[in-house]
């Protein structure tokens, strides 16, 4: 099958979703790991930022790769959403969901919320056009990401947006994580129930561990 044939095949498109979704999931974990350096105080996260800034080629290649993966994921997500909707034009008067979950039925919406949240997050901390004006240097001449995050996480509107963004991400991962194994054909009958439970647990873990950062800041443990 040619690349074109693969990308127009409905299983091919699902595989594209699964593979890009897998990379995005990796990113979520890598980002979480990087963020966790904030628990070490200014020395942790400011050092981490300085390290990253000292290898711009790597950082830009990584960003370019993630953006490409993200765009592909969004594009095929929309495509499949529209095609699938088109395949079921008439709705039932009554339809009981037997297995479908809130998460599985709302992938497009939770995905869109995550998309919006991501834009806000980039404007907030990466481009700093929302509330933070510039990134100062700390006393060791490192970019003071620590103070920036502490400041950013004490603004109520941001906190609310982060909460909903993470909630949407949780639901998205809850369906997406196990879905990716099914689509890549590695799921056997025996693994199935276990993986669905693990998927829920994993999504909740992502939600909790990301929320822990603002929670700790609000509680005044990090300041």
């Amino acid at each position: 099958m040619s690349i074109k044939g693969f990308l127009s095949n409905l299983v091919g498109k699902k595989i594209v979703m699964a593979v890009t979704g897998m990379f995005l999931l990796f990113f979520v974990l890598v980002h979480l790991l990087g963020n966790s350096s904030i628990y070490l105080g200014p020395d942790g996260i400011n050092n981490y930022t300085q390290k990253l800034q000292s290898m711009p080629l790597f950082v830009w290649l990584f960003r370019f790769f993630m953006i490409t993966v993200f765009i592909i994921h969004v594009y095929f997500g929309f495509l499949l959403y529209l095609e699938n909707k088109n395949a079921k034009p008439d709705k039932y008067a009554i339809k009981k969901s037997l297995r479908a979950t809130f998460a599985s039925k709302n992938m497009i919406w939770t995905g869109l919320v995550v998309f919006g949240f991501l834009l806000y997050h980039l404007l907030h901390f990466t481009f700093r056009v929302i509330s933070i004006e510039r990134l100062n240097l700390d006393f060791m001449q490192r970019p003071d990401v620590y103070s920036m995050v502490i400041q950013g996480m004490t603004e109520v509107p941001s906190i609310v947006l982060y909460f909903f963004g993470l909630l949407a991400l949780m639901f998205h991962i809850f369906h997406g994580f196990q879905s990716l194994f099914q689509t890549l054909g590695v799921l056997s009958e025996k693994m199935h129930p276990g993986l669905i439970n693990f998927s829920k647990l994993f999504a909740f873990f992502v939600f909790l561990s990301y929320s822990l950062i603002p929670a700790v800041i609000i509680a005044g443990i990090l300041r």
Binding site: M1, F6, A87, K88
Partner: protein
């Protein structure tokens, strides 16, 4: 004996808009099957000089896959692993209100009332759901060795009666469970393996061409399947598809 209120989808033909019509089903014996209950209602309609409700059925013993009704929002009704023809009225109670709708999917145009055109499934089979290599005469028993798990899996997949409940249940109107059952039934056996890669590509292409959606892993299909076909066969189809891609490169 019980009395029921039915809300049945009536539609003259594919172009008609269709609507629900209300019927009272009186003096229904709880030992009747759901289709026999509809027969009783139809008798009354005929007596009144009205058009009887058109619905598909053939074997009435759960093996042909012709009966196709969504009952109170569930394809084949509330009982798990049961076709409409094998669903008995003892699972309902006196005074129940029952909604009866046809399978709904773009690939299944309505012919009349509860009857839909499911020939799209046949065309998926025609695209590759067969074996065209020479398999010779009937082999001696155990001349071709097949691991027990493979033989079991092939038999499980072969249980699919092609009724289309998976499509009816799927929010995307996808025929993935059906196609997966047919693909895996043959891919598990030595005679079917030879054309397995070609088959999975052709059948999934045909499925798309017929206007079925893609699988979003909602797993509604497995819950609705009267034969309990497992979604792990869909995982198997995906695996076959990926193998086919790697092979052709």
């Amino acid at each position: 004996m019980m009395n029921l209120t039915l809300l049945v989808w009536r539609q003259k033909n594919a172009n008609d808009k269709g609507r629900f019509e209300k019927y009272e089903a009186k003096n229904i014996n709880h030992e009747m099957s759901f289709l026999e209950m509809l027969d009783v209602v139809n008798e009354e309609l005929i007596k009144e000089g009205k058009e009887p409700i058109a619905f598909d059925h053939d074997c009435r013993e759960g093996i042909c896959g012709m009966c196709s009704q969504v009952i109170n929002g569930v394809p084949h009704g509330p009982l798990e692993k049961t076709t409409v023809c094998q669903l008995h009225m003892r699972h309902f109670k006196d005074g129940d209100v029952i909604y009866i709708e046809p399978w709904r999917a773009k690939a299944f145009p309505i012919i009349k009332d509860l009857i839909v055109d499911r020939s799209a499934l046949d065309r998926i089979i025609q695209a590759g759901g067969y074996i065209s290599v020479h398999t010779g005469g009937v082999p001696d028993a155990n001349a071709i060795l097949i691991p027990k798990e493979d033989a079991d899996a092939a038999m499980d997949a072969a249980e699919c009666i092609g009724c289309g409940a998976c499509v009816a249940a799927c929010p995307n109107g996808s025929a993935m469970l059906f196609t997966a059952a047919k693909v895996m039934h043959l891919a598990k056996l030595p005679q079917g393996k030879i054309e397995a890669f070609r088959r999975v590509c052709l059948m999934t292409e045909a499925m798309q061409k017929e206007g079925f959606g893609a699988c979003s892993n909602h797993y509604e299909c497995q819950a609705a399947c009267p034969k309990g076909i497992k979604v792990s066969f869909i995982s198997g189809l995906n695996r076959e598809f990926i193998k086919a891609q790697l092979r052709s490169k």
